[in-house]
Symmetry: C2
Subunit: 275 residues, 2 copies
C-alpha cells in the first residue's frame, strides 16, 4: 500500500480526498512544488521549500508545518512506500472555501505525496527533443500555482506534433515551458530568461553548477534569436537537462544535440549520481 | 442533512469528496456554472446548460449526463434539501489526472451542489455599490473555468475598500467583473462589453428583457468613458441587477442610483417574482 501525508496525518494514498468545497478545487486557489528523490535523498529540498514559501506568500497562504517537519514526513513516506527514486509533490490550498471567495489561512489543505518517476523517453536525451510554442504569459508567474489550463489544453497537440514541451511566448520573447525552464547556448554564452517566469530550482542549480564553464546571461531572448542559437535545452526537476533541437519550424544549430549541452548534461548527472 | 450529486449518485454533502489526484485540483482543469432557484424553479436553466457546454467544449471535457437528467437531479436535490430559494453549482473536471497532464474525458468528476443564497447587502441596491479595478484579462475568457486566483487574491483589498466587485481592465478597456458583467447607461443607450469576456446568462437575459426600452450597444467601453456615464450597474446570477455609483475614484453620474438602472432592477424583479 502507498501512503501520503494529508492535513497532519500519514494515511493510505487511496483515502486521500478533499472536500468538493475546497477553494483549491472551487477557485483554483492552490500552489505546489515538486522535488526529486535520488537514492532516497531529497534533492534541493531547501530550495524547493524556499520557493514553496514564495508561492504561498504570493497567495497569502500559510504552510502549516515547518521545513524540518516536511523533511521528516518525506523520509517517513519514502520508507513506508519503499521508494528510493521518486518525485515528491507538496500541495497547499486555502482549505475549505468560505462564502465562495474567502478562506482561513489557519485551516489550509496541505498534502505531501510520493509519486513514481515520470521521465521523458531516454532516446530524447540522445537525439534531442522538439518544442511547440504558444503565446501565453502565466498569471502570478512567480508563484507555482496549479493553474495549468493552457498546458493541459495543448497536451494533445503537443503529442500529435511529437513535442516534449510547450514554449510560452510573450511580446515576442520566449519565457519558459509549461513545466520547464529554457536555455540557449551561443558560442560560450549560456543564455536564459529571468523575467516574467517561474525561476526553476533546477534552472538555478544549473546556473550555479556550470557558471565556471560559461558566460551566463540572464536576459530576454526574442523568438527571432532562436535562429541564431547554437544549442538549446530545457530544465526541470523530472527532466533534468533535456536537449532541444527543434522549436516549431526552427532547427536549432545543426539539428543535433550540442556539445555544450552534452557537457552540462554530464556534469548534472555526475552531480546527482554522487548524492 | 444536505445532499448533493457526485459522479452518478446523490450522497450526503459531507461525504462529497474528490481524490487529491483529480486534475481539477492538481492542474485547475475544471469548469462550472451557477444558476439561481426562485420558488423551487431553476431560472434560465437551458441558458446555463448551454454555457456549461461551451465551457466544457473549450477544455475538451464531456458532461456525463443529459440536460434532462441534470434538471431531474436539481429538482430532486431541492426536495431532499428542502430548499425553495437557492443557488445550484454544477462542477465538471477532467477527473483523475493521468501522468500529470492527461485525463480520460469518459471519466470526469461531475458534481451538482445546492448552496444557500449568498446575496449582497440589501442597502447596496438602494445606495449603489462601488467597484475597484485591476488590469486582468481572463485566460480562456469564453469558458467559466475555476481559475479565480486574481479574484480571491484581491478579495481582502476589495473588502477593505468597501467595494462589491473587482472590475477587470485590459488595453484601456473595461471588460467584466470577477463574477459579474458590467453595463453603463448614457442617455437612452445601454452599453455593455461583448468581447474578451464571459457572456453572462444574466447579462444576456437583461439585454433581451430591456431591449424595447433602450438602444443597446454591445461594444468596447474605455476606462475614460466611465467619466461620461450617467449610470452603471453590474449583473450576475446571485446579484441580479446591482447599481454601481463609484469605480475607483470615479463617481458615476451624480453618485446616486440612476433612474434607468432602477427601471431595469424593477423589471428584473417583476419578472423573477412571476416565475
Amino acid at each position: 500500500m502507498q501512503y501520503c501525508f494529508l492535513n497532519g496525518k500519514i494515511i493510505p494514498r487511496e483515502d486521500a480526498v478533499i472536500s468538493i468545497d475546497d477553494i483549491g478545487l472551487l477557485r483554483g486557489y492552490s500552489v505546489f512544488d515538486s522535488l526529486r528523490i535520488y537514492h532516497g535523498k531529497p534533492f534541493l529540498l531547501n530550495e524547493h521549500l524556499r520557493r514553496l514559501k514564495i508561492s504561498a506568500t504570493a497567495l497569502s497562504l500559510k504552510i502549516p508545518v515547518t521545513d524540518k517537519e516536511i523533511e521528516k514526513i518525506i523520509i517517513t513516506l519514502l520508507e513506508k512506500n519503499n521508494r528510493e527514486d521518486a518525485q515528491i509533490r507538496i500541495l497547499l490550498t486555502g482549505g475549505k472555501a468560505i462564502n465562495g471567495f474567502g478562506f482561513d489561512p489557519e485551516q489550509p489543505t496541505f498534502a505531501i505525496v510520493v509519486e513514481p518517476l515520470s521521465l521523458p523517453p531516454a532516446d530524447l536525451y540522445v537525439s534531442g527533443g522538439k518544442l511547440i510554442s504558444t503565446v501565453y504569459l502565466r498569471p502570478e508567474f512567480a508563484a507555482k500555482t496549479t493553474n495549468y489550463i493552457t498546458a493541459v489544453s495543448l497536451a494533445k497537440e503537443r503529442k500529435m506534433k511529437h513535442a516534449v514541451e510547450i514554449l510560452y511566448l510573450s511580446n515576442g520573447n520566449v519565457l519558459e515551458c509549461s513545466t520547464s525552464n529554457f536555455f540557449i547556448v551561443k558560442g560560450n554564452n549560456l543564455i536564459t530568461p529571468k523575467d516574467n517566469i517561474l525561476l526553476g530550482t533546477t534552472r538555478n542549480f544549473i546556473l550555479e553548477l556550470v557558471s565556471p564553464d560559461f558566460t551566463i546571461e540572464e536576459r530576454k531572448i526574442s523568438y527571432e534569436e532562436l535562429t541564431e542559437a547554437d544549442e538549446a535545452f530545457i530544465s526541470a526537476t523530472s527532466k533534468e537537462v533535456l536537449p532541444i533541437v527543434q522549436i516549431d519550424d526552427i532547427r536549432i544549430g545543426n539539428g543535433k544535440v550540442g556539445i555544450n549541452t552534452k557537457k552540462i548534461m554530464e556534469k548534472y548527472t555526475a552531480y546527482v549520481n554522487k548524492l
